[in-house]
Amino acid sequence: MGRKILLIEDDRETASYLAKGLGQEGHSVEQATNGQDGLFRATDGSFDLIVLDRMLPGLDGLSVLKALRAAQIDTPILILSALASVGDRIEGLECGSDDYLVKPFSFAELLARVNALLRRRESRIDPTDHRLTVGDLEIDPLSRTVRRAGKKLDLKPREYLLLEYFARNEGRVVTRTMLLEQVWDYHFDPGTNVIDVHVSRLRRKLDEGFEKPLLHTVRGAGYMLAA
C-alpha cells in the first residue's frame, strides 16, 4: 500500500538515499530541495506525509511548517534536524510537527516513524476507545484491561501504556526513542538500556507460558508487536 510522501531536503545525498529507501517500501516520493518549492508543493494537501528538513536554504523548515499549519493543511509532518537539543526538539513539536528525528538517524528509525505517522492518519477516524486485538491478545483501553487467550494479565500502569502503544502500531517496528518519546514523553537520549529493561519485563508478562511470542525484537531497529 504505497502512499504519497513529500520529501523536502536540500542535501542531495540524504534526499536520494531516503527517496530510494522509501520507494523500496512501496511509497511514491516527490522531492523538493528548498523551502519555497516544498511549501508550494505541499499546499495542495494531497500528500499523506511530509518529511521536512529543518535547515533549508531560503525558507527554513520551521517557517514552512508554520505556513502549512497556518493554511490549515494537516498533513502529518516529520521533521529531520541536526539540532539535537531537547529545547530544539520541543520547539519543533510545538510549531505543529507530528514527529522530530535527529540527524544522523538510521533508516530503520525513520521508516518506523514514517509508518507510525501514516498509520495514525489512517486510524484517525477510529474512536480511540475501540478494543484492540493482536492475535489472541485483547486490550480494552476503557477499562485498561489486557487478556491473552482469555487469561487476564496483571500489568503495571506504565507496562499497560507500553503495550497499548505497541498494539496501536501492530506489525510495525517501534524504536526505543519512539517509546521514550511516546510512552514516557521524554525527549532526551538516555545513556542506558532503561527502555530495553521495561520492554523485557513486559515481554515476560506477555509471552511467558505461551507458545507463540507476540513481542519481537527487530535487530538494529527496535521492537514489534505482531501475531
Binding site: 532526551f188 545513556g191 542506558t192 532503561v194 529493561v197 521495561h198 538494529g220
Partner: protein, 455 residues
C-alpha cells in the same frame, strides 16, 4: 585635544553660560526698572509742556519752561530749540544736533546740564512744534543708573571669576574622572594583550566607577573560568574522541578487507555502534553548551517536581533491579511546584539516577528525595557506592571528567556536567556530598528564578 582639557573647557563653558544667563537676568531687571521710572517722568513732563503750548501758545510755553528751570529738581532737563537745534531757552549745556538727534520721540543720551561738570545719561523726549522749534523734555537717569553702572562692573568681574573657577573645577573633575577611567582602560588594554589575570582596582567608595569596576571584574572572572574550562574541554574532547574514532576506523577498514559476508556484517554493525556513540558524545556536549547559553527559557513552565521524580524513579527502578539495587523514593506528601524546564530537569535527574545505578549501587539502596522549601527545592540522589573523595569532586563535575578511565564504553563522563549546566540554567546548583559511604548528588533549585519569570 586630551580628554582632560576637553572636560575642563566644557566645565568652563558651562559655567560661562550659566553665569551669563543669571547676570543677564539681573542686568535687564535693574536696567529696565531704572529707566522705566525715568521714562515715565519724562513722558509726563513732555505732555505737560505740549499741553501748555496747545492752550497758551508760545508765550505760555516760554513761561512754563522758565518755571520748570526755576522750580523743578536739578535732575530735570528742559529746553526749547530752534529748528536747527540751537537752544533758545533751557538748561542743556550739550548742543543739538551734535549730541541730540533732532527727531520726534524718545532717546537715551549722555548729556551735560548747565552747572554740572560731567555728562550723565538721560532720557529725552523731543517734540516738534508746528512752527519748527523743538521742545526737549528730559531727565538725568541719576542714581538708578549710577547703581546700575556699579552693578555692571561687579557683574562683569563676577563673570570672569566664575569662568576661571569653572575652568579650574573642570580641570580637577577631569583629572579625577580621567584617572578612574584610565585605571579601567589600562586593565582593558592588558586584557586585550591577553593577560586575563588583570583586575580593575577599586577605590572602596562604592560609587559608579567602583560598580563599573566590579562588573568588569566579575565579567573577567567568568571569562577566565570559561576560558580554562574551554581549554580543558577541547583537550579532553580531542582525547575522548580519539579512541572511538580509531576503533571506528579500524572496524570500517576490517569490514572493507573482509571476504566473509557474515563477518563483514558483524563489523559494519560495530561501525554503526561506534558512530552512534560518537554522536551521543557530540550531542551531549552540544546540549551542555546550549543549556549554558540559556536557550529554551520560553519552555519554562510550572510543574510538580515530586511527580517528576516519581516518574523517573518508576522508569529507572527496573534497571536498578537488574543490577540488584533498589531505588527508594520518599515522595513529599504535597506537590512541589517549580517554574522550570521539565524536559531538561528530567534529563538532569535521570543522569544523576543513571550515575547512581552505574557507579554506586551493586546490590545496595539508592535513595531519591525531594526537599520542598520556601525558596529552594532540593532534589537528592544518594547512593551507597564508593563515593567520590572530596578532592576529586570538582574533577567529577567537569565535562569528560570520568574518574574511572578504564570504562571505555558506557557514559562519556558528561552526566554531571550536563546536570550542573541544567541547574545553572535554573539559577540553581549541583552539590556533591559525602553519603558516608557513598555519594549524594543534590540539585538545588530556586522555586522561581529571577530571570525565568514568565512574561
Amino acid at each position: 585635544m586630551p580628554t582632560t582639557l576637553r572636560i575642563a573647557l566644557l566645565a568652563g563653558l558651562l559655567a560661562l553660560v550659566c553665569n551669563f544667563a543669571v547676570i543677564g537676568f539681573i542686568y535687564y531687571q535693574t536696567h529696565d526698572e531704572a529707566l522705566a521710572t525715568v521714562r515715565r517722568q519724562v513722558v509726563e513732563q513732555n505732555k505737560v509742556l505740549s499741553d501748555v503750548y496747545r492752550t497758551g501758545g508760545k508765550a505760555a510755553l516760554d513761561d512754563a519752561i522758565q518755571d520748570t528751570l526755576t522750580y523743578a529738581d536739578p535732575q530735570s532737563a528742559v529746553a526749547l530749540l530752534r529748528p536747527d537745534g540751537r537752544e533758545i531757552t533751557g538748561n542743556l549745556q550739550t548742543v543739538a544736533p551734535t549730541i541730540i538727534a533732532l527727531e520726534e520721540g524718545y532717546q537715551n543720551r549722555l548729556i551735560r546740564l548747565r552747572g554740572q561738570t560731567t555728562p550723565r545719561e538721560a532720557a529725552l523726549i523731543l517734540h516738534r512744534l508746528p512752527s519748527g522749534e523743538w521742545i526737549v523734555s528730559g531727565r538725568i537717569a541719576g542714581e538708578g543708573l549710577a547703581i546700575r553702572q556699579t552693578l555692571e562692573r561687579s557683574l562683569l568681574i563676577a563673570l570672569i571669576v566664575a569662568v576661571l573657577l569653572g575652568l579650574f573645577c573642570g580641570l580637577i573633575l577631569a583629572h579625577y574622572v580621567g584617572r578612574r577611567i584610565s585605571d579601567i582602560a589600562t586593565v582593558a588594554n592588558r586584557i586585550s594583550a591577553r593577560d586575563l589575570s588583570q583586575r580593575v582596582p577599586l577605590s572602596g567608595a562604592g560609587d559608579a566607577f567602583d560598580q563599573l569596576g566590579q562588573q568588569i571584574n566579575a565579567m573577567l572572572d567568568r571569562i577566565s573560568a570559561l576560558m580554562s574550562e574551554l581549554t580543558l574541554l577541547t583537550d579532553s574532547l580531542a582525547h575522548d574522541l580519539r579512541s572511538p574514532v580509531s576503533r571506528l576506523r579500524a572496524a570500517a577498514h576490517a569490514a572493507a578487507e573482509s571476504p566473509d559476508a557474515a563477518e563483514q556484517e558483524e563489523l559494519l554493525g560495530s561501525v554503526i555502534r561506534q558512530a552512534d556513540s560518537l554522536m551521543r558524545i557530540l550531542s551531549a556536549v552540544l546540549e551542555i553548551s546550549r543549556s549554558e547559553a540559556l536557550t529554551g527559557r520560553k519552555q519554562f513552565n510550572w510543574f510538580d517536581v515530586g511527580e517528576l521524580a516519581a516518574e523517573l524513579v518508576e522508569m529507572y527502578d527496573p534497571l536498578a533491579d537488574e543490577g540488584g539495587a533498589r531505588i527508594e523514593y520518599d515522595r513529599p506528601s504535597r506537590p512541589v511546584p517549580l517554574f522550570g524546564h521539565r524536559q531538561l530537569l528530567a534529563q538532569a535527574l535521570s543522569n544523576l539516577v543513571e550515575n547512581a545505578i552505574r557507579y554506586g549501587s551493586s546490590g545496595r539502596e539508592i535513595r531519591v528525595s525531594v526537599g520542598p522549601g520556601e525558596r529552594l527545592i532540593q532534589v537528592e540522589v544518594a547512593d551507597r557506592g564508593p563515593g567520590i573523595p572530596a578532592e576529586r569532586r570538582a574533577e567529577a563535575r567537569r565535562r569528560f571528567g570520568r574518574l574511572d578511565s578504564s570504562r571505555s564504553d558506557e557514559g562519556a563522563g558528561l552526566g554531571l556536567a550536563l546536570a550542573e549546566a541544567i541547574a545553572h540554567l535554573h539559577e540553581g546548583q549541583l552539590k556533591l556530598e559525602d553519603n558516608g559511604p557513598g555519594l549524594r548528588t543534590i540539585l538545588e533549585l530556586p522555586v522561581h528564578s529571577q530571570q525565568a519569570r514568565p512574561a
